[in-house]
């Protein structure tokens, strides 16, 4: 397979696009496609300030790199979750994010140290909440709250995450399997700001296969953490990705059509917004919007710890 743009040997073959590109032209294509998604879904403009949620993994570091190369004002936020489990996972991933930031003096990295700020690491909170083996939902709640807080406090216009098409297709697959209509209603590359304290969220990589974000990171020589979070072993989303990739292997483009046709169907009215959205009010402790009657889920999570300090 030769590169379609120069006839050199291809470094990556994207069967769903019938497109092979070399190490020189693939990054060029990757930037063009990212810009296309940003424009297509009206994610943000060059006049706006973007906060990239950086984990130290391939997708988020690739996203930060691409946005900077496209000339956007993009800073990063890293949430230190205090996950060790014998592999210093958080410490090593933070090092990757910090190393990237140090090579890009124009970009600023904000580090949120959860154990230092709230007195407990994710594994400790999960232990206290009797979920020591599967802390992922608690971790997700904490990350969403803190990323939103940093975006609002820093005056950013938008929060960008490195979710790729495989992430989105796996989420969609899980939501369809269980007909989680409310989740399906909210799945989209852009979640608008609500004007009451929720920042706009965007996923500029939503049309890239995970293999393509990995290829970009490798070709660009971006040093990222290859290891998975130790708590991700056996996660349902990973099983869904494997299933979708088996389908993709037999039928190139299956994964892409599953997700992009869902987006098209949504744009034509499938899963239209609910008639009565849940009423939100500011959490009396942190001020972020919540539908809970009193404290938001995040503040309730820490109630005992914060009271004890």
């Amino acid at each position: 397979m030769r590169c379609r743009r120069c006839e050199n040997p291809g470094a990556i073959n994207m069967r769903q696009h019938k497109l092979s590109l070399c190490t020189e032209h693939f990054p060029e294509w990757f930037l063009e496609q990212t810009q296309r998604s940003i424009k297509k879904y009206r994610m943000f403009t060059h006049a706006e300030r973007v906060l990239v949620a950086v984990s130290g993994g391939k997708d988020s570091l690739a996203l930060w790199d691409v946005l900077l190369r496209l000339g956007y004002h993009a800073d990063g936020v890293y949430i230190d979750l205090g996950i060790d489990r014998g592999s210093s996972y958080s410490a090593r991933s933070k090092d990757k994010a910090a190393a990237f930031a140090s090579q890009h003096p124009a970009a600023r990295l904000t580090v949120v140290d959860i154990p230092q700020l709230y007195g407990e690491s994710i594994p400790q909170v999960a232990q206290r909440r009797h979920r020591p083996q599967r802390p992922c939902s608690i971790c997700g709640l904490i990350k969403r709250h803190e990323m939103n807080r940093v975006a609002l406090e820093g005056g950013y216009d938008v929060l960008a995450t490195g979710h790729n098409l495989d992430d989105e297709a796996a989420t969609l697959f899980g939501n369809v399997l269980h007909w989680q209509v409310d989740y399906l209603r909210h799945q989209f590359p852009v979640l608008p700001a609500d004007g009451q304290g929720l920042a706009r969220k965007v996923k500029p990589f939503c049309r890239f296969y995970e293999r393509e974000t990995a290829a970009y990171t490798l070709i660009r020589g971006i040093d990222y953490i290859e290891d998975e979070c130790p708590y991700a072993v056996g996660a349902t989303s990973l099983a869904h990705k494997e299933t979708l990739n088996r389908m993709e292997h037999d039928s190139p483009g299956a994964k892409m059509h599953f997700y992009t046709n869902f987006l098209k169907a949504k744009e034509t009215g499938l899963f239209a917004a609910e008639e009565t959205a849940p009423e939100l009010h500011p959490c009396p402790q942190c001020g972020q919007p919540t539908s809970a009657p009193d404290l938001c889920n995040f503040c309730r999570l820490w109630e005992r710890t914060l009271n004890a300090h």
């Binding site: 470094a11 190490t23 995970e210 490798l218 290859e226």
Partner: protein
């Protein structure tokens, strides 16, 4: 050639394509990328004895 994938390694002394190697190791090309002597290569490329090959898993998340 020396092949590394996660914490496993293999030594192979015959020429084969990336596709043949992945099939032998029962890996789907959709789940991995292959780096030969530091360069990303596509599935139709040939691997020679003496090559240093790294198979990179691309699936992440939880």
């Amino acid at each position: 050639m020396h092949i590394v994938y996660r914490d496993k390694e293999w030594f192979v002394d015959q020429e084969l394509t990336v596709n043949q190697m992945l099939k032998y190791l029962k890996l789907l090309p959709e789940n991995v990328l292959v780096v030969r002597n530091g360069q990303l290569i596509a599935e139709d490329q040939k691997l020679q004895p003496g090559d240093e090959v790294k198979i990179v898993s691309v699936i992440s998340g939880g």
